[in-house]
């Protein structure tokens, strides 16, 4: 599905990238070429700011070569509430990202461990979770349970997709239900939080991992910081809702850099999937 890219050649995207495309770091203001940024896994070489990693790149970074077999590529968003502009909005993001939905799922192996992987891509409508996202993740978890695979989900989301109203809320129950069965089958689930993981995604599958990892400095929260501030009329503590803050407050097991992610997940699966550890 995706050509394998190693860490070394991830920057070689020249053919599909116009010349002279520069990226200004939103954190330190440093200007670097897109190619250099890609070569560094979209982490600013100056200040270590983590830019959003598209799901395709994430999958290539993580999975064993040529093992990713994408699932449910045929699911399409509908407009169940007849919400004004919703269909056009989704179409715009399909065009912009080349994805059908923020969620991409598939079977793969990671360090030889059979896995069902789900990855959310924040570029697609803030990776909000609607029916398609919930269905894809649920099917991927069910696939993991049936085929005795590890389930791994990389979360990033603005929350539930309000254009699908209560149906999007119910995706929280649906995904957690599938994870309950996965746990009962004695199989591992690793949740990886990336920037930003918020709202209904934080309040469902993202925070019930057997192990919860997070990328450095990513924002993790239920309510947005503005809402918290407006509700409480208090100053927010330093580092509020960052991965480091949530590590300190006992939600996150470990912060893992993008460079180390594949290696650390393989290490973890070695403990969590004992049948294959030998």
């Amino acid at each position: 599905m995706f050509p394998k890219r190693t860490l070394d050649n991830l920057g070689e995207k020249k053919k599909d990238m116009p010349e002279g495309l520069w990226h200004k770091c939103p954190s330190c203001g440093d200007v670097i070429h897109e190619l250099e940024l890609n070569a560094n896994l979209r982490v600013c070489p100056q200040c270590d700011h983590y830019n959003i990693l598209p799901s395709g790149e994430r999958i290539q970074l993580l999975t064993d070569e040529n093992t990713f077999d994408e699932l449910d590529t045929d699911l399409r968003t509908v407009n169940p509430l007849g919400f004004n502009d919703y269909t056009d909005k989704v179409a715009k993001y399909v065009k912009k990202t080349g994805l059908q939905d923020p969620v991409v799922t598939g079977r793969c192996t990671i360090g030889g461990h059979p896995t069902a992987l789900g990855v959310m891509d924040f570029r697609f409508l803030g990776a909000s979770m609607g029916s398609v996202a919930g269905e894809k993740l649920t099917r991927a978890i069910e696939c993991a349970t049936q085929e005795k695979r590890a389930a791994i989900i990389f979360s990033a989301s603005g929350g539930a997709r309000m254009h699908e109203g209560i149906l999007s809320l119910m995706q929280m129950a649906k995904t957690c239900g599938a994870l309950a069965r996965h746990s009962e089958a004695g199989l591992p689930y690793i949740s990886v939080l990336t920037h930003p993981t918020t709202g209904g995604v934080t309040a469902s599958f993202a925070t019930v991992g057997d192990v919860i990892l997070a990328e450095p400095k990513c924002m993790i929260g239920f309510a947005g910081p503005r809402v918290v501030k407006e509700t409480t009329h208090q100053d927010l503590p330093p580092g509020f809702q960052t991965a480091e803050f949530m590590l300190e407050h006992g939600l996150v097991d470990r912060i893992v850099t993008r460079t180390d992610m594949r290696r650390e997940i393989i290490r973890l699966l070695g403990f969590m999937m004992p049948a294959l550890a030998a």
Binding site: L169, T202, A203
Partner: protein, 320 residues
């Protein structure tokens, strides 16, 4: 407490005043005004009908948030026979926004959990306006586990604008407290019944709402986001909340139409606040019936049906 008259009910209040004035006048002056009185009475009935049978989503939300609307503990008083409240999550503290304990209804033992709001400021501060902290959700789960152990059903009464978006709540992982409940409720080996009493605010509602049977009171709403929050994002201003409320399809009939709930619990005309006892009778009937229905199912059937109930929710297309 002063009676809260909703904007759209003002014509009714005006007619009621007219009627009262006329009656007083008639009595004081000993004049026969019966023709005029019956004319106004008829008009009042007609106006009531035309208002209450054509409620907009926004009007229903006003009813759902009415300060005289029966809250969880009012239903405890009218519909339940005993309530033995238990406190605390065993770790941090007790959440007064979410009372929970053993209860009896229609001769059945149960564990009862719900959100509680206050009517005036002092009580509302104690109840945190019905917005629970992580401790509430963890206390709820602790009691659900007790219900499972004793083989008694769990009843949850949902009435919250949302889980509390505070600093402490975030620090103590409110999202995880909700998520863990979603997962655990799916495997709870005892019947579970939820009713949205008033406000079904997003994850804060669902956090005690993954049940075998889910109902809504006729004028309750159940939504992924508050109409104000949705309006602020999509309409760029909270004033557009009435439009957002309609677009989100959050009223009981709309949510039932989307196949999310098992039924709508009828309220007295104009809303449950007009008659707490009648609303409670109506709620009791639905809960007792559900307890008896679910009691006939094996744990295996119960869990499979619960899983499928939520598994099937969502609308999408399969591309050819």
């Amino acid at each position: 407490m002063k009676e809260q008259v909703l904007e759209f009910e003002k014509p009714l209040a005006d007619l009621a005043i007219q009627l009262q004035t006329l009656r007083d006048h008639s009595a004081n002056q000993k004049i026969d005004c019966s023709d005029e009185i019956s004319r106004i009475e008829a008009k009042l009935d007609e106006t009531k009908k035309s208002i209450y049978e054509n409620l907009t989503a926004w009007q229903r939300i006003q009813i759902a948030r009415h300060t005289q609307r029966p809250y969880m503990l009012d239903y405890v008083e009218h519909a339940f026979d005993d309530f033995f409240e238990l406190h605390g999550d065993r770790h941090i503290g007790d959440d007064h926004a979410m009372p929970a304990g053993f209860a009896r209804i229609g001769g059945h033992r149960c564990v009862l959990i719900g959100h509680q709001k206050g009517r005036e400021l002092k009580e509302n501060i104690k109840r945190n306006f019905g917005s629970a902290h992580p401790e509430g959700y963890r206390k709820a789960l602790r009691l659900m586990k007790l219900a499972e152990r004793y083989g008694i059903p769990v009843i949850t009464l949902i009435d919250t604008p949302g889980a509390y978006p505070g600093i402490g709540a975030e620090e103590r992982n409110i999202a995880e407290a909700i998520a863990f409940n979603l997962k655990e409720m799916m495997s709870l080996k005892t019947p579970t019944i939820s009713v949205v009493l008033g406000e079904g605010g997003s994850g804060g509602a669902l956090g005690i709402g993954v049940s075998d049977r889910v109902y809504m009171m006729e004028n309750a709403y159940y939504s992924v986001i508050s109409p104000e929050g949705c309006a602020a994002i999509l309409w760029k201003h909270r004033e557009h909340a009435p439009e957002a409320a309609a677009a989100l399809k959050i009223t009981a009939p709309d949510v039932e139409g989307l196949g999310i709930i098992d039924g709508v619990v009828p309220e007295p005309q104009g809303g449950a606040h007009h008659d707490h006892a009648v609303a409670a009778d109506s709620l009791k009937k639905v809960i007792v019936e559900a307890i008896e229905d679910l009691g006939r199912l094996s744990h295996e059937t119960l869990l499979e049906e619960r899983y499928q109930k939520f598994r099937k929710l969502g609308e999408f297309e399969v591309a050819s």
